[in-house]
């Protein structure tokens, strides 16, 4: 069969979202690939310029639909720096709680989608079943399962409901039992190893060169995790290890994500213990008056506000489940951010597709792209 281009996407079971992978194939071999993004662009950065600082949080949930809280955390940190607001310590712990539960939820979703791409049907449902427990926890303290709108400039919206830590511990116990089962279903299967070992190789130098971050980078033997290298929130006070592997292939990425989930459980146990012992306020007491207001003060009041409030620039870097996300918020005074800019980790991971896809088979595309863990919401923003 001669060479031909096929479009895998924008509507294709492999994409897990709305993007297009153009593939030039010769028989079953991949000769060239060309990822096309932009089908889900909603202009989130531009819309943010027209919103109050707290209203942007709503957009962050839509930015990445499997890791909304991590993106809220990313934006909030930059916004607080720009606005010169300090959150109370309990709020920081609550944010880490959100982050790590979100990592569990996101990785479980990744696990489900990844094994489904390989044709494993039961683990897909096991992953979704266990992710539901995490979503139930989110629902119990944020009120939502997907679009949480939980964090606020200066803290978080509300404290945990009574009995939350007990039920959270129960979920963690259940999950740490399940990880063994996941490994048996995947690593214990010869077909799985045959489909994943030595596939989609992205070596460390290439990964760094393409700006690849997160589990994909750590699976290439580069031990970089913002939570350790540049601790934010309260990660510096918590005890955990950076998950990494040397294989640089699909199996290595699987191993890294599995280990990350175990480390998340470990972190969460410490956070839950701390939260049990240290009650306190969850939002800063002295906030700019207009931060919580539904409408911006106009006229003279608005003018004075704009003139008097200190200006500033905020930058934050957060280890999101998919990789390193960066945010930049410019406060030129007033109730809206002047400029908001995000760096999406998945965009960089996807852009390197040619490096880790060319030379493999068409049937290898789903497991390789599955191991990248694509979330198009944050790619296109």
């Amino acid at each position: 069969m001669s060479e031909m281009w096929i479009n895998m996407g924008p509507q294709h079971p492999m994409t897990h979202g709305l993007w297009n992978l153009r593939v030039r194939i010769e028989g079953e071999l991949i000769r060239d690939v060309d990822p096309e993004m932009g089908y889900l662009h909603r202009g989130i950065e531009k819309i943010s310029e027209d919103r109050h600082y707290n209203e942007v949080i709503t957009l962050m949930d839509r930015c990445c639909y499997v890791a909304g809280l991590a993106w809220e955390h990313l934006y909030i940190r930059a916004a607080e720096q720009a606005l010169h607001v300090d959150p109370p310590e309990r709020a920081e712990y609550l944010r880490v709680l959100c982050d790590e539960f979100q990592r569990l939820g996101s990785h479980l979703m990744w696990y489900a989608a990844f094994v489904q791409d390989l044709g494993l049907m039961s683990p897909f449902l096991y992953g979704m079943r266990d992710r539901d427990l995490v979503l139930d926890l989110f629902q119990s303290y944020t009120g939502a399962r997907m679009t949480y709108e939980y964090m606020r400039v200066g803290g978080v919206r509300n404290d945990l409901p009574p009995g939350f830590t007990a039920s959270a511990r129960k979920v963690l116990d259940w999950l740490s039992d399940r990880f063994r089962e996941y490994d048996q279903l995947c690593l214990g299967s010869t077909i799985f190893r045959k489909r994943c070992d030595g596939l989609g190789v992205l070596k460390g130098p290439d990964a760094v060169h393409h700006g690849v971050t997160g589990p994909m980078l750590r699976s290439a033997g580069v031990k970089r995790d913002l939570r350790k290298d540049r601790p934010y929130a309260v990660y510096g006070q918590l005890d955990f290890d950076v998950a990494f592997a040397d294989g640089a292939d699909v199996t290595a990425r699987y191993l890294v994500r599995m280990e990350e989930m175990r480390q998340s459980v470990r972190l969460l146990r410490q956070v839950l213990d701390w939260l049990d012992r240290h009650p306190g306020p969850v939002i800063a007491e002295h906030l700019p008056r207009w931060l919580g207001a539904p409408y911006a003060p106009i006229g003279l009041e608005g003018y004075l506000l704009k003139r008097n409030y200190p200006k500033g620039v905020g930058f934050s870097a957060v280890e999101e489940p998919h990789g390193e996300a960066l945010a930049y918020v410019v406060n030129e005074g007033g109730e809206h951010p002047y400029r908001v800019k995000f760096r999406s980790p998945v965009f960089a991971n996807l852009s390197a597709a040619r490096t880790y896809l060319v030379g493999y088979h068409v049937a290898d595309i789903p497991p390789i792209m599955g191991s990248v863990d694509v979330c198009v919401g944050e790619v296109d923003r």
Binding site: M8, L118, M121, K194
Partner: protein, 376 residues
């Protein structure tokens, strides 16, 4: 053993009907109806109609069975809402597909696009006319029924390829190519495994093969052939470890990407018909067909429809095994599949033929007892 078989029932039905009609009309025209040949002919037609209805019904129940079983494997309950425990869900699904408009891509080849699925379904249905489900099932002895069944079974890749190619879609074409490569690669070990059975049974007739298993079933002494046969059958059915032609992760739906509505239902039905045929063939060739082991009390088979009952129980258990495999294994890759097919399965199948020949020569195996002389 059963006295009333499907064929005798349809013959009696035709006989009663024609003679009643003949008596009603009377005269020479009425006597023309009371003709033995005509009764036989109409009886065969009634038999075919009943068989069609039974196989279709079984297929739909099979889909329900798979859905429920898969549900349990996946920690959920499967279809629950239409009918008792979701029994009517598939009828509702079928009705939905039946009502849908059939669309054909403008660039698709009209003849191939409609001919492919239709021929696929029809050939899959034809096999049921050959398979004996219990004693005296068929109208007459068929000395080469096994061969005929396998020949019709192996028509499928042709029709899949025709419909894939005529869809004028790259995914369909790739799926069709994979399907053809896979089915041809696994046809060889499948037939070699069957040869092992034929060597021991000494006959190509399915009925004779079942009678040869009265004392011991073939799965024990021919375990290698059984393994090869089950694996090759999985590939022929295109079920999960080997479902690359319709690997939805990369090929959308593979060769039936462009099909919707009733034409899709044709493919779906034919797939499950072939799965049913595969399970039935395993029961016939290796699991003693409608017989039960002699050490079980005879009362288990002493009632009219016992043969059919035990046959269906075995068939559904075998299909349950396929569902179990589907629930727990990932999909292999095309090159891996073909490599396993040519490099592992064919030598294994040849070994099974050799073992069968050795068995016939030696006659007695320590654990499994003695083989009667072929054709006895």
């Amino acid at each position: 053993m059963s006295s009333a078989t499907l064929y005798s029932v349809s013959y009696d039905l035709s006989h009663t009907l024609l003679f009643a009609l003949g008596g009603l009309i009377g005269g020479p025209l009425g006597r023309l109806l009371e003709n033995g040949d005509l009764v036989t002919g109409i009886g065969v037609l009634v038999f075919a109609a009943l068989l069609l209805a039974a196989s279709m019904l079984n297929t739909i129940v099979l889909i329900w069975y798979e859905r429920k079983l898969l549900g349990r494997f996946m920690d959920r309950r499967g279809a629950m809402h239409v009918g008792y425990a979701g029994l009517l869900q598939n009828f509702a699904d079928g009705l939905k597909l039946f009502r849908k408009h059939t669309t054909r891509p403008r660039e698709a080849d009209e003849v191939g696009f409609y001919f492919g699925p239709t021929a696929y379904l029809v050939t899959s249905l034809m096999i049921f006319g050959i398979l004996p489900i219990s004693t005296g099932w068929n109208s007459g002895p068929m000395p080469l029924s096994l061969l005929l069944a396998l020949v019709i079974f192996s028509f499928a890749p042709l029709f899949i390829f025709v419909s894939a190619w005529s869809s004028n879609n790259k995914y369909s074409l790739m799926g069709g190519l994979r399907s053809a490569a896979q089915m041809i690669a696994y046809e060889v070990p499948l037939l070699l495994a069957v040869v092992a059975v034929v060597v021991v049974a000494g006959s190509f007739s399915l009925t004779t093969i079942v009678y040869e298993q009265q004392n011991y079933w073939f799965w024990g002494p021919l375990i290698v052939a059984l393994i090869v046969f089950v694996a090759a059958m999985l590939a022929e059915m295109e079920r999960i470890p080997f479902d690359l032609p319709e690997a939805e992760a990369e090929l959308v739906e593979g060769w039936n990407t462009e099909y919707g509505g009733m034409l899709f239902a044709f493919f779906m039905l034919a797939d499950y018909l072939r799965a049913l045929v595969g399970s039935i063939l395993i029961v016939l060739l290796f699991l003693g067909g409608w017989t039960l082991p002699t050490w079980l009390p005879g009362s288990l088979t002493a009632w009219p429809l016992a043969g059919i009952f035990w046959f269906m129980v075995k068939t559904y258990l075998v299909f349950g095994l396929f569902v179990w495999i589907r629930a727990s294994l990932p999909r292999v890759r095309t090159d891996q599949l073909l490599r396993v097919g040519w490099n592992r399965m064919i030598p294994l199948a040849l070994l099974s033929v050799f073992l069968a020949a050795a068995l016939v020569t030696v006659r007695c195996v320590p654990v499994f007892g003695c083989v009667p002389s072929p054709g006895a």
